[in-house]
Symmetry: C2
Subunit: 170 residues, 2 copies
């Protein structure tokens, strides 16, 4: 049982406790947040799904993210993260909480964005809460290994932020 799975169990328990319906929109984590939650028995009653939007055109087609944002401020930005949660809530009328993540995990990222991740969590009855994170290489030397570690780290951060919003109340 990894840290990711333990954290997923905590989020699942909190979703059950609060009765919330969660929808995800994942770019750089590529479905890892959903997969970690999917390991918890009974989660299907509280996880609507995850739109893994790995290309810009998929973000536009599935979540109505405005294509103008890809040129500026760019696909890895607070604006795109917020547009992803808004789109996920719009496309999933039965969800009442959305979480989204967009970031560059490398190894081919522009230097200024290497390891940068934006996470948005939005309740249907509130505005989005967006955070910025900068992931290091850790001890990894191989960029592919670093990529996998960052994917996991980003997924853990998404789960943490969901938990904060769930615990904050109501």
């Amino acid at each position: 049982m990894t840290t990711l799975h333990v954290r997923a169990r905590t989020v699942a328990a909190e979703l059950i406790r609060t009765g919330r319906q969660l929808v995800l929109a994942e770019s750089c984590t590529a479905g890892l947040v959903a997969a970690s939650l999917g390991g918890v028995p009974g989660i299907s009653r509280h996880l609507c799904g995850s739109a893994v939007v790995y290309q810009e055109r998929t973000k536009a087609a599935w979540l109505d993210v405005p294509e103008s944002l890809f040129a500026s401020p760019g696909v890895v930005s607070a604006e795109v993260a917020a547009a992803m949660t808004a789109g996920a809530l719009r496309r999933t009328p039965f969800a009442d909480l959305a979480a989204a993540v967009t970031g560059h995990l490398g190894p081919e990222a522009p230097e200024a964005l290497d390891g940068v991740v934006f996470i948005s969590v939005e309740r249907r009855d509130g505005g989005p809460s967006v955070t910025r994170h900068s992931l290091g290489y850790g001890e990894a030397v191989d960029p592919t290994v670093a990529r996998l570690k960052r994917q996991t780290e980003a997924a853990e951060l998404v789960l943490r932020q969901i938990l904060e919003v769930l615990s904050a109340g109501h």
Copy 2:
């Protein structure tokens, strides 16, 4: 590097070689197929995304799966798997290959469907190819551990079937 990651690398290499654009629709694997492919650098040029449709209503809302199928033959069926690839191709006009999976991983599955998984792979220029699999418990005693093993096993089967269709060629 697990078997899943090795197989994901093989599929990624074949997507690059053939120039195909893949879209996924995942139920029981909950994003694990996409996450495994997402670990491969450069895959974003060939993986459009994955619709992780974890609830029946999400399958209907995101992929136009007819709700009548959920009553009969049921959500774990060849018909739903095929409807998921058809819907993924319809909702993702730039994809030319779709793969979908629906199944019961337990521990709360009806006995006749415990461990049963249906996988559909469909090329836009061809019909769906649907297979049925029955996953055992392996050596796991804890049903939650069995669930995680089955999630991985199902994801590996999806990747294998994608590879077969890609290699079959044209």
